[in-house]
Subunit: 204 residues, 4 copies
Amino acid sequence: MNSDSRTPRPRRGRPRKEGAGEQILEAALEEYAEHGWAGFTMDAVARRAGVGKSTVYLRWRDKDSLLTAAVSARSGYIEAVDTGNFRSDLEALAGNLFRFFLDPIGWASLRITVDAAGSPAALGRFSEAVTGQHSQAAATIVQRAIERRQAPADVPGQTLAQCLYGAVTMQALTLSGDDRRLSDDQIMERVRPVVAFVLAGAGA
Amino acid sequence: MNSDSRTPRPRRGRPRKEGAGEQILEAALEEYAEHGWAGFTMDAVARRAGVGKSTVYLRWRDKDSLLTAAVSARSGYIEAVDTGNFRSDLEALAGNLFRFFLDPIGWASLRITVDAAGSPAALGRFSEAVTGQHSQAAATIVQRAIERRQAPADVPGQTLAQCLYGAVTMQALTLSGDDRRLSDDQIMERVRPVVAFVLAGAGA
Amino acid sequence: MNSDSRTPRPRRGRPRKEGAGEQILEAALEEYAEHGWAGFTMDAVARRAGVGKSTVYLRWRDKDSLLTAAVSARSGYIEAVDTGNFRSDLEALAGNLFRFFLDPIGWASLRITVDAAGSPAALGRFSEAVTGQHSQAAATIVQRAIERRQAPADVPGQTLAQCLYGAVTMQALTLSGDDRRLSDDQIMERVRPVVAFVLAGAGA
Amino acid sequence: MNSDSRTPRPRRGRPRKEGAGEQILEAALEEYAEHGWAGFTMDAVARRAGVGKSTVYLRWRDKDSLLTAAVSARSGYIEAVDTGNFRSDLEALAGNLFRFFLDPIGWASLRITVDAAGSPAALGRFSEAVTGQHSQAAATIVQRAIERRQAPADVPGQTLAQCLYGAVTMQALTLSGDDRRLSDDQIMERVRPVVAFVLAGAGA
DNA sequence: AATTAATCGAGACGGTACGTCGGGTCTTATG
DNA sequence: CATAAGACCCGACGTACCGTCTCGATTAATT
């Protein structure tokens, strides 16, 4: 999908408009955030991006592809913080994920991931791309904890990550509408017991 | 949601066709399973159910309502088994949930739940209805474990449920296409470490 | 093409909106007159007729069909006048035809007829329908003249009609833009020598 | 209309590709003949001519101009034959015209002329260019007939031409599809009565 | 028995978005 | 410079679906 992959572009013909792809993705996200899935139209995206429809369709096969690309471009900011302490690291990670899910675009990322998993390989490896990226962050944190002797060497990192991510997801799932506006404190309040539970499970 | 709930119906006029509602729900699920969300159309549902469109719209407000109703009618078979052992109970529960998610209709249930949480109260309390039902099952199991002294009295039941459900969901999320065909053994193989981790977290 | 042909309509389903066809044809002619061929769009026709696009496409296969139908519905008012005199009859007929051709819609009729003749039977028998109708008028006039002894019995009516119609067409062909605004007097001025020539040819 | 007309071109830069204009015109006619007006696209013309779109647009303002130019380049072979006899001259002229109209490209010439007359001066003086050229041929023939005393001096040459051309056009108009394949004999059979009628009208 | 009213299948309705395609312009790299 | 390639913006095309509506035909409960 739009795999530019550093072509130095010695191509013939008029070159593709620089930055058009980004503008379109940006416009797509804004449209999605404003009108949701049902009110998300290609015409509106093109208009908002100041671009012809053909320019959009030249880059993405259809509506699904565009939305998927737009969302996955924003799914990346879950990183492995390093506070020097296992518990703090996990709390920060879980807090970031929670915040991400409360943002319409972050939540859309989950929605699309779920769609992708159910579809017949249509949306390809989107799920893996996103979840893989996330589990990487968790693995890094666990690794550091082992090195610091804050966790036993045989801690089941993957299961730990699944529980942590899953519990946060479940919590986000029960919030709808205005309930999704939470302060950072409220978020941490909800995150802490989960981290505590998971640490106990890890034997730390 | 079609809450007629045993109206004895002494109404005038032609009575509603017996069983039409069920046929429509059935058709809706089949259509959804075959064509997915994007290819799910009311016309096709009506045609497959051998029913006029008006008959459908007389029972459900719109497409979302129908799909939601269809899915939620199938979401109910996660029950609290009772094997006499905490671990076995949890494994059975998690296994059932996993199986449910690998079925297209069960997975659709999750998808709709995610949609509902993101929409502005549109799909109403669907999320809560479904997740509430599930958490009830978990709570029952935990309660029994406490009574049997297989778990400490202060075990954080809700967090435990979130981790267990979340971890299963995350696992289902990483499977797409043909990977979703798992035998019961394969399912249990994936479920066991999660239950073990969760039991450790619960101090049991 | 829209051949209603007095079906008393025992059909199933919602009946077609009465008069929608006429409204659409009307709108099509107005659009065509205002914007010409290039600016003639189906969307605009539907909007002007106060009708959904589907309603238009349910009645006519595509743009060409609609325009053809619209124009042919207006091609019919060339009738055989009866002044009691051969020359006057022909002058009236030719004058009417000339006026018809100076009107944008009348001219469109010719344009479409020409298209139809060149196309691979696509527009069907449109040419014949229109020209047949016209030649009928001429034949009637000639017949009456023979009965009145104003023309010899063996006058070649068809050739006469071809010459008369053809000459008028040729004259209309050389007029473009504002030159096409002619008064009735100017029209008759141009028509008279043709009729005189044709009468001479007929030996009258 | 591409009026370069013998520029010796001592210009700077890369010279225009020799013969590109002709190739484009050729391609345009072929495309028109194959797909008709509706299926006539600039992209296809450029592709068939093995030329970039800019090369086409460098020479012709737009689609109409190109098609007009292409057709008018082929409209020129109606000439005033000289058989020494008025009737034969007219029959030859009318026969040539008939043949011209039965050819797809010749017919296109008429179609464009009709379009041009109806449009707001868009296609300019195309009509006049073509019809003028033709009426010149007729005038020449009439002039010679007068000199040979085969026609009276006051014969209305223009009206005669209009009738002759018009009648041929009308006949061509009633033929569509396969009916347009006529042998030379069939053509002359249809032409002769018209010439006879016109000669009578001319008092010859 | 006649009336009333809710429901049924069918399918046309006004809208709106889809994804495609063509026109005419523009921007590059290559003669 | 002209050219070929081809991306650009624009907007119409014809299709499909939504949710509504209007039919004629059923089918009870109520008169």
